[in-house]
Symmetry: C2
């Protein structure tokens, strides 16, 4: 098999594979990069056992085959090759030539390499029986805005994932660590009903792929697997990630519905004041106090270094209230927002709802600290 | 004592202090930032026991005093303060106000804080009896270009420093780890004769300060101490670093003087080819082979992954030669260079000299690998 393709295209498109393919693995074959010829495309593939990825690039091809090449020297070399094109000849070894540089790399046998299954962009049967279409940018926003709320703890493993909910009411991504929760609703009725939990680290890879994509993408579910297929400017990209077992406990009941006090505020100055005041907060619980009254929030904190406070003007609706938060949780809940936001306070010891004041699918729940 | 000054000036100028002041120390007072009022300047100072630093800023001042404030919250706050100016009131505590933000920080007592001594920019007596003037940019170049060759090993501790040599022939900075050597000569006759070894990590801080400076600077030596005084656009900066004991063994004898083969080459393409070929090199010794003959260098390497080679055109003067190098050492020796360079080969097992083809104070010596 012989392949000729532009160096820059190859260098640019292997970046996502470079992230996924591990430099060490209990299955050493996973440290290799797969190369195959299919129709007019060079197919590059890799896996870390949790995330499988396949990149298709237009290339001049002769012959066919499927080969495993050592990914580490290949990734290191591709970016700095001296020529404008790269020539790859694959047989008993890989011969690479670009400009006056040549190299010969040893191959690994394909036996023992896992079979990677991906959904088709165009439809068609296969392992992925449930399919839904999204706009890349919309799906990317839904996933990336809730991901922070997933847990890092071993305890209650299901919370280390992001739950995706498909139903005829729409699509929802939701994450929680038991102390706070974030969800994002897309009003896009789904052709099937299912809940699937994706490990948060795999969500990060899905988000990266979606950022590189444009227009419509396909999300597809098979047994124990979520697949994604996206078109790119030149070529296409497909991904499959292992699902976690189980689904989230009922979280709807922690989302407050009634608010004795609501605040509408500009996110940016509120966030900045919260950051400043939290510098003085106790290093253990990061406690910042909020006192809301007469069109103002007084933020204050006190710790080993001393104390600090700042006042911000807001629009209030309801009775004055004093609350305390872990500043980090409140800052993370505000992070996806810009412009104006609404904070709905259900009480000093019951959950607070954070959401954009105008339309937007994002909602976050933060539980105040017990004073 | 009360101080008012522009937030941005303060935020910008504490960056170097932020690097020096440790977040933990066996003497907890060193984690504090010093503030003092002198004439029309706010003086900020700090030390990590190895490097002392003092920054002088124009400010509106009332009263006087010397105070230690907790550096960690202060550094965190200063950049994000909401106002254009900062007001500091120092007494039994520090009260800081900027815009609608206020904070009160606990102070530490000055007792037990080391006395910091710095050379004067203008001359005058004191602990620093030997003084020399440099251009900031020249001195910065001399120090930063040789620093890489210093050792990281505990063994032969003196090689963990950079030796500064002052004499009527000029100024030299030299570093070596016993396997390679770099030196930089400034043709600037010095008013005194002395050799002083500065720890490589302190050289990094000197270089940072010199990068922030313009025009003439003063380097001064006292007992066991090297001082630096620089002017900045607004204000001034002074530094003192502890010297290492002892001086380098005689290194002049390892610098080759006769070359059966010399190569003149463009640094950039040679460096790029060396990087590419070294990707294939053995991971232990990073060996890259050079074969020089008839206006060409053939670079080649072979390791676990396979082998690679590339050819580069050069001007040669002398008999063909085959040599092998640790690619990292050769790349580091070339790093300070651009444009055209000369490689002087004294033999396949004896030192190679690397230097710019045109004028320049830099010279590096790299010992080939034994083939």
């Amino acid at each position: 098999m012989r392949v000729t393709l532009p160096k820059n295209l190859l260098a640019e498109r292997i970046a996502l594979l470079e992230r996924v393919i591990p430099s060490r693995s209990s299955n050493p074959l996973l440290t290799y990069l797969g190369l195959a010829a299919e129709k007019d495309a060079l197919v590059l593939f890799g896996s870390n056992g949790e995330v499988d990825l396949e990149v298709r690039l237009p290339a001049q091809l002769e012959g066919e085959g499927r080969y495993l090449i050592p990914s580490q020297p290949f990734f290191q070399l591709v970016r700095s090759l001296p020529g404008e094109t790269v020539e790859l000849s694959l047989g008993s070894e890989l011969a690479l030539a670009s400009g006056r540089f040549t190299t010969r790399l040893a191959l690994a046998p394909m036996e023992g390499y896992p079979e990677l299954l991906f959904p088709d962009l165009e439809g068609g049967e296969g392992a992925f029986t449930q399919r839904a279409q999204f706009l890349a940018e919309e799906l990317q926003r839904a996933l990336s805005q809730v991901r922070y709320a997933a847990s890092n703890e071993e305890y209650r493993a299901i919370f280390r994932g992001v739950q995706l909910e498909f139903s005829d009411r729409g699509f929802r991504a939701v994450a929680s660590d038991g102390y706070r929760l974030a969800l994002f609703d897309l009003e896009r009725p789904q052709p099937f009903t299912r809940k699937a939990v994706v490990p948060a680290r795999s969500v990060d890879e899905l988000v990266r792929v979606l950022r590189s994509a444009e227009g419509e993408v396909v999300l597809a579910l098979g047994p124990g697997t979520l697949g994604l297929a996206v078109r790119q400017e030149e070529g296409a990209l497909r991904m499959a990630v292992r699902l976690m077992e189980g689904e989230f406990p009922d979280y709807e009941r922690v989302i407050p519905k009634e608010f004795p006090l609501k605040a509408a505020l500009d996110v940016e100055p509120f966030r900045e004041a919260l950051k400043r005041v939290s510098v003085l907060a106790d290093k253990q619980n990061h406690r910042v106090d909020l006192f809301l009254e007469e069109g103002r929030v007084l933020l204050s904190a006190e710790g080993d270094y001393g104390k600090g406070q700042e006042e911000i003007f807001v629009s209030l609706e309801g009775a004055p209230m004093s609350l305390a938060y872990n500043a980090r949780y409140l800052l993370e809940a505000l992070a996806p927002l810009s412009g104006r936001a609404e904070l709905g306070f259900s009480g000093p010891t019951s959950p607070t709802l954070v959401r954009p004041l105008e339309e937007g699918g994002y909602q976050a729940v933060v539980v105040p600290l017990r004073v």
